[in-house]
Amino acid sequence: MIDKTITIEDLIEDYAFSVNFLSKKGIKCIACGEPIWGTLEEACLEKNYTQKDIEAFVNELNILVKNQ
């Protein structure tokens, strides 16, 4: 189960597909070949997404996990 406090490092390791998902939202999870530091929430806030947006992303990611 993904929540907004997951680190980008863990997100990428456990749910590799999320890199592309977030990339389409303009959130770059990988830079110089390494995961960026911080949580999913922090990465989203940096791109000016709202808490409502973040909640929606988390829901979408969890649906993708279920469908995998």
Partner: protein, 516 residues
Amino acid sequence: MTIEINKVLKKLGITNVNKGVSTGVEWFDTKGAITSSSSPIDGKEIAKIKNATLDDYEMVIKKAQEAFLEWRLVPAPERGEIVRQIGLALRAYKDELGALVSYEMGKVYQEGLGEVQEMIDICDFAVGQSRLINGVSLQSERREHRLFEQYQPLGVVGIVTSFNFPVAVWAWNTALAAIAGDVVIWKPSSKTPLTAVATQKIINDVLIENNVPEGVFNLVVAKSSVMGDNFLSDKRIPLLSVTGSTAVGKRVGSIVGKRLGKTILELGGNNAVIITPNADIKMAIASTVFGTVGTAGQRCTSTRRIIIHETVYDQVKDSMVNAYKSVAKKIGNPLDENFLVGPLIDEHSVNAFTNAVDKVQEEGGNILFGGEVLKGKGFESGNYVVPCIAEAKNHYEIVQEETFAPIVYLIKYSGDVQNAIDLQNNVPQGLSSCIFTLNVREAELFVAASGSDCGIANVNVGTSGAEIGGAFGGEKDTGGGRESGSDSWKIYMRRQTSTINYGTELPLAQGIKFDF
């Protein structure tokens, strides 16, 4: 030549499951997550590693602090002697460690050996420096006073390394920190933890045989949830040296800056080669191809842009494409000496590469060669790509970014060389740069105040790679840090100005009278 990786792992003491925390003379059986490291070459798991918990991190910090109290009192040349012996140990394991670097990271074996050679070189440099840590004597304005500056050990140094130079960057920092009287805590990349474990094992015997205090050379393999922001904000660590992306560097700078700690930031580059009408084109092409495809474009100093004068543009373009045609036949297992280009580190880097290939075309660029992901026998890991050459404009969004993969942009300039220099400088990053010219005016202008704004500015030498004798680092979004040679050792030390009154009077500075 065939390298038997199992023999390599055995010689280096890598087992199926490895401990990830060491204080130099002891290894700890930690209870953190057990992660695995896989080779980008064949996708196979190499071994597992036990990560640290927060308690382990605390334990290591405390041991490091205790060790510093003792280590700072050891005379610098004696500390240098330990570093000399570490250099000898690295020489003894050069072939095996070079092979593991190649297998775990994906660079060709010759580059793996080169990386270990860098470790040896910086040890040699640091040994000499251990007898040259100096200060200056200055003239006091007060009679019978002596004014001088000296450098004292700083404390615990945190070192965060990246996958692309998994062990050399540790050595650059550690060798200097050690002779400076500091102790180090190393957090290696989660993609290359085994080379770190192997390195720590190589130096173990040296530390034990010389009774080096426990806690001088520490390794902590940990996830960023255990060793992330808490590591950066830890006031017990006066200096953090971080190699990584600009995004990570900005986070590090912000957190460490809030507590007024010191940082060495070695971040992204967007390195350009300028080829003028006065260049030795043959030399320029040979040098530039190594800069673009060496380490599969995964060096901080890899050449990302080639800025070419319009009068030689077609000649350079054709030569580059011809060179890439040859290189494309030499993509494969980097442990096989017949190949020159290995895989990218993982699928995410492959995606970043293909995204860049798509994006440059969306912005109006033109692919001249490569850009494909290789499939079939020998490429089962899915991490091998054909290096790409694209024609582009400097202002494209994708050109302004660093893509950590083998894609290079050809950019045409006209008129004076200053136009090329302006294009080169017109990116956020400022790590490495070079000009190919036989014209002394162009060469001198390039390294003048109005020339390249990068930390490294070469003439008839490519952007990629650097000797350990010079300070390494860059400006702007590259972070401003300097590592390795020259006077980089100073940042690992605490600068102190002292005035000694050996007279019988008490004159105040600036002639101030304060009688009471």
